[in-house]
Structure formats: structure tokens, C-alpha cells
Symmetry: C2
Subunit: 197 residues, 2 copies
């Protein structure tokens, strides 16, 4: 059986988005360049870490990571990633609203799970088989799984920027945890840090 991994790009103050997220600004007051410029603008330099983000056999994500909406789904919305999302595997989206599975090009199918984080993780584990499951975000979802002790490997990508505004911070409500630092790599645009429980 694989492990449960989690990749998160965060600011120095631990934010992966600010509270004012919207369709136009999925990261709120942070822009994509600030948080994700390291793999968008420096792809070759960060190929290994970038590829690892989507290497799992199944994914779990929060509703807000899939969709800027909050109520019943707008069925014309098919995620932020265009017709061929990078996951190429089943993605289990945590939501309070029912929706039929959404099959995309390239092997990604979004499944909408209304019975909670534990059920979503169980379904992802089953779908992944021997491969890893990745908790894809956002921070609220990551914190839930961290608090439940269900993330085995946490891979942080820390950018040299302080958000300095409200937002969900990584580790909020998680409680004291000692991690083992297994590897790290510094670059000017991002520091990659890998921790295991």
C-alpha cells in the first residue's frame, strides 16, 4: 500500500491562499506568480518536485480547490485545469452537494464525495491500490487530514513572500506534531522541504 502525501505551496507565514478567493483570484490577494512562479516560470529547475505533485494514484481535494462556488454545482464548471487536468487519476472532491462523476481527458475523473473526509480518503486509497494518495489542498482540507494524523509525507514549497493578510494557515488547529525532516532543497525562488510523520 502506498502512503498519503501532501504538497502545498505556502508563503513564509504559512498561507496557500488568502481569505478573499474568487474566480478571478483563486489565491486571493496572492497571485499565481507569487505562489507558483517557481514551477510556472522555472519549470526545468523544479521538474522533479513539480512532477511529484501529480504522481499519486488518486487524489483528495476540498471543494474550493475544484470550484469557486459554494452552493449546488454549476455543471458547466469543470475545474480550474482546462479539458486535460494534470492529475491523470481519480480525484475525490469533498463537498456537501451531489454531482455525477466528471470524466476529463487524459485519465482524470472527478468524483464528488458527500460523506466526509474519512470516506473520501478510503475511496482514494482503494482507487490508488499500491500507489500513493495525495491530499491536493486547499489548506482547510490539508489541516483536517493533518489533525487526523492521516498525512504521512508533507512536502512544503516555501516562497519568499509574507502574505500578511487573513487566510487559512497551514497547521491551524492541527495540534503539536513532531516531524522528521527527510530532505530539502533551497533555491532563490522556493525552498522545498519534505517531512515525514
Amino acid at each position: 500500500m502506498g502512503i498519503v502525501t501532501c504538497d502545498l505551496a505556502v508563503t513564509l507565514d504559512g498561507l496557500s491562499a488568502t481569505a478573499d478567493q474568487s474566480l478571478e483570484r483563486p489565491f486571493g490577494a496572492l497571485d499565481a506568480e507569487t505562489l507558483h512562479g517557481w514551477h510556472l516560470e522555472h519549470a526545468a529547475e523544479h521538474r522533479a518536485e513539480s512532477d511529484a505533485i501529480t504522481a499519486a494514484g488518486a487524489f483528495v481535494m476540498g471543494r474550493n480547490m475544484f470550484d469557486p462556488g459554494r452552493g449546488p454545482f454549476d455543471l458547466s464548471w469543470k475545474g480550474w485545469w482546462g479539458p486535460e487536468p494534470p492529475y491523470r487519476a481519480p480525484v475525490f472532491v469533498l463537498t456537501h452537494h451531489e454531482r455525477e462523476p466528471l470524466e476529463m481527458a487524459g485519465g482524470t475523473t472527478f468524483h464528488f464525495v458527500t460523506d466526509g473526509p474519512e470516506a473520501a480518503l478510503a475511496r482514494a486509497r482503494e482507487a490508488a491500490g499500491e500507489r500513493d494518495v495525495a491530499v491536493a489542498g486547499g489548506a482547510t482540507t490539508v489541516n483536517e487530514y493533518l489533525a487526523a494524523g492521516q498525512i504521512d509525507e508533507l512536502r512544503l514549497h516555501v516562497v519568499p513572500h509574507v502574505a500578511g493578510v487573513p487566510g487559512v494557515r497551514l497547521f491551524d488547529g492541527v495540534g503539536p506534531v513532531g516531524w522528521t525532516a527527510v530532505s530539502g532543497r533551497w533555491t532563490p525562488e522556493v525552498t522545498h522541504l519534505v517531512y515525514r510523520r
Copy 2:
């Protein structure tokens, strides 16, 4: 003229002490080994970073970094560091209570400054001459100087532990700031990260 530096050992969630600090537990729920084991237990491996912490020509620190008390000073208390503190330079302690300068062995003299952070920094700059001034902590004092844009180089020493309890977090109230990452070094016990404004 030198620059203003700041070294801070922090947990993954940005704490350098928890809210329940006391004489017995200066770091509160965090123990010295968790935050400072990297230089206490692995001194040779971290000699350069450790020496840099006390290399400045003058220092500024908050009252709580000098003294577990809050009211008028107990004059028998001469800091946490024994008869020969590692600073070997003037140290300006921010406080609301008057106290005569306290000269220690090895070149450290504690000066007690009651007219605010700006005055303390000005006095430290004057005392340091061509050398750097270091803001020695704690997090509340660091955040004040960060918010005022007065720290030129921030050196974080990030330990693989989540405090997960209340405390003053680095960057609280500082507002959005972009930093330039100038260097970094990963080790299993701590990641050293150096940022400039």
C-alpha cells in the same frame, strides 16, 4: 554603516515560544531541545550559523527575552545566560521600567531602554558603529521591527516541529512583504533560511 539583522529559531508553524512562558520553561510548551537542539546538540555542524547570531556590534531585545518578569525589575536577575553572556557587546532591552546598565563579564552590557523600539534601535546603531545591529527577539519585538520595515536581513532557523498551541507567531501583524531569498541550507535538524528585504 552595518545592517539590521534578525535571527530567529522557529517551529514549522512560526513560533519561537508558546504563550505559557515561565522561569522554568522560557519557551513555554516548547523545550530548548526542540527549538535549539540544532546548535546545542550539533554545535560543530551549525557553527557558522550559530556564530552569526551573536556577531553583531550591538543588540536589541524585548524585555521577555531578558527576564521572565513583567513589573519592576528584580535586580538579582541578570539574564538567562549566566555571568558571561554570548553577546559581548551592548544589548538594549526594551522595557517600561527603569534600571541602571548592567555590565557582565566578556563585554556584554545590558542597557534598559524605556523610550520605545525606535529609540532602542537608534542607540544600538550608534553603539554598533560600522558593525551590524541584531534584533535578538522575541517574536513580538521582531514583529514590531518587521512591521516598521527596519529589519534588513532575516535569518530563520526552521525546526521540524509544529507547536500547535497559542503563541506569538512570526509575521503576525507585519503585513504583506516580498523578500529576496539569499541563501539556505537544509539539515535534518534545522533548515537555515536567509532573506533580505
